[in-house]
Symmetry: C3
Subunit: 563 residues, 3 copies
């Protein structure tokens, strides 16, 4: 887990759609570099496993093609790409040459972009929409605060990503926080409610509200609710492991937008374009000098001197061992137990989801869910939190949610999902969407929506859509890590019911009267429904292990499109 092929990294680059030729060249060039045993500082790839280069290679080429047809707006920022490129170089043997290549490429892209903005000849090339409105591969995550020691990537507003996500889900955003070992995340607040799920690593999360401070030791599987507007900071005090958190955000001012506010920080306004650092600025800096002098009751010179000590390092900075040790001390809880009324409302701001009893489980998989009813702090963001763990070569059977829509992010393993969605064609405009929606003639026909899944990929399962999650065996030599793990948030979760469409238990088809089954399916269906003895999770067919290979490359994203 601590080593990774350079090949792999360069393949990641090859997914670029902007300059496909260059991308292809870098794959070729990449093959000339040594392939294994490079240290990891990259973020996304940190949890990936060894020896999967060939498979990944194919995969990323597929995706390259896929992305080529994607071209959604948020991806057109070449700097995000540069960021990943630069990062990959840190594990390269010849870092400098690698970085030079990244910059050259960025230059080309920036130039091309500026030509476009000046109204070049490309203007008639209309960007086509994302052909799969419920699947957002990791490459669509936006770099919010890049730093040498980690990063904060955010899924764009769902309404902007997809014309079909216009409901309640548009009020939520999804983010991924990645911090290198031995780091401090600068204090900040956002104009949003949020909840974190720790997907890897250990650390301490602290927030300050009015005249109280709360500190939480956090580890994998923990769910922490951060109240809106709480000034929050974070340490990863581990010496070698990343601390990663999946974050759900519900903005309070504008439904799909939120902003970070830093009390401390220093921004170099004219930093060269190549920097991966997104500096932060102190919000104190906007106030008039007179205001600041009066507020702090301190002469201007002294204020300037004190604040001038801030260094431009970005949102995530290195901290000394002593500082980490001091900051990882959690508030003693023994006296809080003696004085339980002191902050009884805070006692359930954190809990470990994976230590609960799974909601659905058998030998093949586990489905954990904490509803807002069970974990009261989720009530005001009105979501449930889910962790699904599916063994390799296993699937969670077809099912649909009665009311809740799930926003899901893969945190380990690989696989795919298939979902039945009302038929849609790729709309070119708002009018076309409306036209489609108005058409009665297409009612009652479905299209398959599917997508490959690995770390960082996001997908949405709207209420009512039948769906399966499939875990793929990407490496037979390794057991533990092959499980597909997904963290999810259930919007509109109160009173949601998961209706299974196959399996022994909770299968709604088995509940109907014989006559209803006959009228619906014909006579033989009844007997057939009793063939499956497993519930919830079932292994992919074992008798056809030969054919099973095909699982890894189903015909992705086959849409039945209207002629």
């Amino acid at each position: 887990m601590l080593s990774l092929s350079y090949m792999h990294l360069m393949n990641a680059l090859s997914t670029s759609y902007v300059l496909e030729q260059v991308a292809t060249m870098s794959i070729l060039r990449a093959r000339q570099f040594p392939l294994f045993l490079l240290l990891i500082s990259t973020l996304f790839l940190a949890s990936s496993s060894v020896n999967d280069h060939d498979q990944e290679c194919q995969q990323s080429i597929c995706r390259g093609i896929f992305r080529n047809s994607l071209k959604s707006r948020q991806e057109e920022d070449p700097r995000t790409e540069y960021f990943y490129c630069w990062q990959s170089c840190q594990t390269s043997e010849d870092t400098e040459e690698c970085e030079a290549a990244c910059r050259e490429r960025l230059d080309g892209q920036l130039e091309k972009q500026s030509q476009k903005e000046q109204g070049g000849e490309d203007q008639d090339e209309k960007p086509t929409s994302n052909p799969n409105p419920y699947y957002f591969p990791k490459s669509t995550l936006l770099n919010r605060f890049g730093a040498e020691e980690g990063g904060y990537v955010v899924l764009n507003s769902l309404t902007r990503l997809s014309p079909f996500l216009r409901g309640r889900i548009k009020n939520y955003r999804l983010a991924l926080f990645l911090t290198a070992p031995g780091t401090f995340v600068l204090p900040y607040h956002i104009d949003a409610e949020s909840a974190f799920v720790v997907s890897a690593g250990k650390g301490t999360l602290t927030f300050v509200v009015k005249n109280k401070k709360e500190s939480f030791k956090i580890e994998e599987g923990d769910v922490i609710r951060v109240p809106g507007g709480a000034t929050t900071y974070l340490i990863n005090h581990h010496s070698s492991e990343h601390l990663n958190l999946v974050q759900l955000i519900r903005p309070v001012n504008i439904p799909d937008l939120f902003e970070e506010f830093f009390p401390g920080g220093y921004k170099i306004r004219d930093r060269e374009d190549y920097s991966i650092l997104d500096d932060v600025e102190s919000y104190y800096s906007v106030f008039s000098n007179d205001i600041l002098e009066a507020a702090f009751n301190t002469p201007r010179e002294q204020l300037e001197k004190a604040l001038g000590q801030q260094r431009p390092e970005g949102m995530i900075i290195k901290a000394s061992k002593e500082q980490l040790k001091a900051l990882s001390k959690q508030d003693p809880s023994w006296w809080r137990k003696l004085v339980p009324w002191w902050s009884s409302e805070d006692t359930d701001l954190k809990f470990n989801l994976q230590s609960q009893k799974p909601l659905h489980s058998n030998n093949y998989g586990k489905f954990y869910e904490a509803s807002p009813q069970e974990f009261n702090q989720l009530l005001d963001v009105n979501v449930s939190v889910v962790i699904v763990e599916i063994n390799s070569e296993t699937m969670m059977v077809p099912h649909y949610n009665s009311k809740a829509t799930y926003l899901m992010m893969v945190v380990s393993g690989t696989g795919w999902f298939e979902m039945a969605s009302p038929q849609f064609t790729l709309p070119g405009s708002e009018e076309e969407i409306e036209y489609q929606e108005d058409q009665g003639e297409q009612r009652g026909m479905y299209t398959k929506v599917s997508g490959k899944l690995s770390l960082g990929d996001v997908f949405v399962v709207p209420a009512g859509r039948p769906v399966v999650f499939v875990s793929q065996n990407n490496d037979e030599s390794n057991n533990q890590n092959q499980n597909l793990r997904i963290v999810g948030f259930g919007i509109n979760a109160p009173n949601n019911i998961r209706n299974f469409l196959a399996g022994q238990e909770d299968n709604i088809m088995k509940m109907m009267e014989s006559e209803a089954k006959q009228l619906t399916f014909g006579k033989e269906m009844e007997q057939l429904l009793s063939n499956q003895k497993q519930s919830y999770f079932v292994p992919l067919s074992t008798q056809k292990s030969e054919e099973g290979r095909n699982h890894s490359s189903p015909d992705w994203l086959q849409f039945k499109t209207k002629q």
Copy 2:
């Protein structure tokens, strides 16, 4: 009630706005057919009464003219029209000739439509908006699932129908379910919460959720709450009567859109254009073969064979007497009373509104309303359910609702409504709407909004607007059926108050101090307010029975428009 004039049916056709000339011709041609004693299989017209052809004739001509100026997008689908045309033919003596005429007409329309789409010369003909933004005659209902044995028609999204319905009401949709005697409605679920009001007939409604099945015997006046995502099916086991249901729908994914999901069903994808059938497809069909084999633990061949038995018949199919009998058995309730905790939350999923005490009533009419507080299952769709029954030649006096907006559908009788609305002109664009809304100069002036009412017509009464409902005497020989009956849903109903503006009781004008009345109305108003001794419902003036004829043709839809 079981016979109907062909004349009547053809008049319905004549309402077409697209090819007015053809429509006029079909009226003429229709006159050559025998007029009475045809069996009913048509849906809308099933509850209409005999002998009203002359009146209806005039009416539909008026409406024809009205619709001619309507041309809202959702009506431009000639297939919906074909559906009604085809249906009317089933009651014709020469069915084949009639069907041929329908097809010819559809052909003409489809051709015209395709010319338009190819960018013909009509492009400068901008469609004008609906001139009455709160009234949607039955012709604006969209055909969602047409079938030989019934149909499912839906009012388009209110935001799309009217620029003035942009508030909370836009989250609701209204539908009408019509099933012929002896039929089974295929199981399906929708991504929406819903509630049904039975407006005619008897049957059994069943839904399956997780590992429970609920069956309800239903009859006129029943209100049934179907939880979001419940897989629902329905039988009409009566030998001769239609079972009709008005349905309120609150989508859970996208505020104004919902989709049906069928586990069973078979779709012929290239069916000829003339079919009235909207086939349904099984959502199982989108999953990969491997997935289905694993899910059902059944070899592919066996699966295909079982599923191949489905017949393409649409959503509503004929069922045998034995099947109907088996499916109309309701779950025994005796043991549920012994084990009351088993599903206590379901006991009030159904109730009969008309067996309650009316909220407002006198000898002339009755107003039933079940608030979410009284019928808890309405709480999460947050609506009240209303049935208004107004005797012939009677009106419900001017009143306004303090907070709730009502979405109303006529289920029997005829009449009209008048409503005072802030003045508006017909906006040509979004900008014009905004401009109007910004103009202070028009404040404090009102316009009359009105519309004729008969089965299937929908109208909206927004909070605050003074309104009257008037029942018209369309046939003196028949008493029972002449009452105007309206089913309504009150959006934002909790704590709504109905303020009456006339009548003996609950008349807010009578509550003001004498000085306030004088300053507001002048001196003579006070005495005048005591002239009316009736409350809530009052007869139309009897002394002027001559002039009373004018009720039936007030100057409809008179708008004071800006020059």
Copy 3:
């Protein structure tokens, strides 16, 4: 307080952006008129103080320049301007000449406007947006119902005023009700929930619902909740003082629109353009004659005679002393105390905010807030009500709200506010806004938003934004009136926490561990945080009274704009 300079009034006119030259001329001409000792009938200026003409002059010129660049749509109505102009003339010595000037000006503007509408050459002049999306000076309030005896001015829908106010706040509107002494406000209801805060004067507010009437004696600091749809009327029975109310409105039909409905009133439809009167029309007038005759059980002639007595006077009319006396009698409360169950839910429809204990206070200022929890009637509009009172030359220290967004209106005094907002540039289009929002590169940088404050100015403080309010000393000879007083409404107030960023108490910066402070700010910050001994309100620095003059003219509205 009862006299005012004509100069002052004419300066108000000079703020016009449409015809700047004419405006400048009227300033010059104004100087020829006597300056003092004119009676007040103007509304906004009624509470302004004497002797501030020079300062005000500069101020209004600044604002004139500012407004010149504002040009938002709702301000382009020259009639609103004419209204203020006409009103100012009533206090002039030569009223007729003054009025003639106003009319001439209106003529010019109307002509110019009609040329524009006919598609003149100005079409390429795109209106630029409001450069400060959170500040709406009094001049942006729309005249809703102008009358000789007062007026009703309303802030336009926030979504229309600013592209950045698209969240929950867009469901609320803010209005100001101004009534001359000895007046009656005609009964009306709105399709909205509302709450009033009395900012000056005394009177009686009455509303009628169903079969109940509620009357409240009201005075400065009172908060009154008027239920949606309640027919409301109001008297100002004082012989010389205005009664002014700030009103929060939450529409129930369409999120940002509401309409007034008057049972009585008479409208002259073709009144000459120069009238300042906005007549009101009775909503009864739209119903058919037959309907009205039946409803009132009264012959047409009698009805017409009774309703013909209404006079066209607008919404606010003069009342006799006897009428005022009769209407100012409040319902006796002694028997209500004996029969407490009669209307126990109404007992808290009113309370006095300033008689409560302030939430934050010291010698320099007071912050009163009633949360929905404390004042249950605010629960269903879901806002808190705030009154802030800040001594002259004092500020409320930098702080931010964790969840609530405040909509604030100045009711007396002068000053300014400064707020840290995420950096934005002036968007020219919806696309530009989206582009900005998508850009990650600007994250973590702030811009200063600020605005001068005096009576009628509105500003919005979104959740999360650090802000200061500063009270300015505009007149040393007068103590009482110099306090800056602001009335505010907190949207999403439940569980909101005010986090102070400076001061002795509740300063969240002081809550962090030393190590966190060091990592965030550097070493010297810790000591510096203890310099300020005051909390919440602090005086502007006294040692630099020379430099203090600069407070009155900071560099307003400095935006760091993107090149």
